[in-house]
Symmetry: C2
Subunit: 110 residues, 2 copies
């Protein structure tokens, strides 16, 4: 196989897992960390920072964009990328819900 059976799960389960999946690669975490520090948007700069080729970095940027974690604005020949400011907020909220639901349940654990 290799394809996950997304049809058998809820839309929420698929949506949540997709965002986490986009964060599940060290290069994409590195890109996010760089954007946090530099803020003003980059692009080809990453080629000198990450140990990856331009083509590979472009792919990772696309995945982050598709997951709505970053956005890209065309600026001449280059594309200016920056974080979607609500990303962390949204994820923190999701995890907070998880945490509260878990704590609300007073049943004993193994």
């Amino acid at each position: 196989m290799g394809a996950s059976k997304s049809a058998g799960f809820t839309e929420e389960q698929n949506d949540i897992s997709q965002v986490f999946k986009a964060l599940g690669h060290p290069a994409r975490i590195a890109i996010i960390q760089h954007l946090m520090n530099i803020k003003s948007c980059i692009c080809n700069d990453l080629v000198g920072i990450l140990p990856l080729s331009q083509a590979t970095i472009s792919q990772h940027l696309r995945e982050l964009k598709e997951a709505q974690i970053i956005k890209g604005t065309i600026d001449g020949t280059s594309v200016c990328y920056c974080l979607n400011s609500n990303v962390f907020e949204t994820m923190i909220n999701t995890l907070h819900e998880f945490k509260e639901l878990d704590q609300k349940n007073t049943k004993e654990c193994c």
Copy 2:
């Protein structure tokens, strides 16, 4: 390729991405949600809940265990699984750091 170049990234980047990666599948989100609701640990129950075979569910449980998201305790013929209570806390903290770093930077975005 197919193998990510983990050597070229920091230990933190690899660690963070690994936890996210483990959450990057709808079945594993479904397992976590079930554990949040039921708390008292399950195992073969999941076979009746998820649209997956016993072998596949066992694999997903192993991945969650390796990422320290759940823990398993042997109980007779079965294994009792439950959430590591600090998982959400840890992830929330990581994301909070990200968020604060991002907000601290007042540079303009594109």
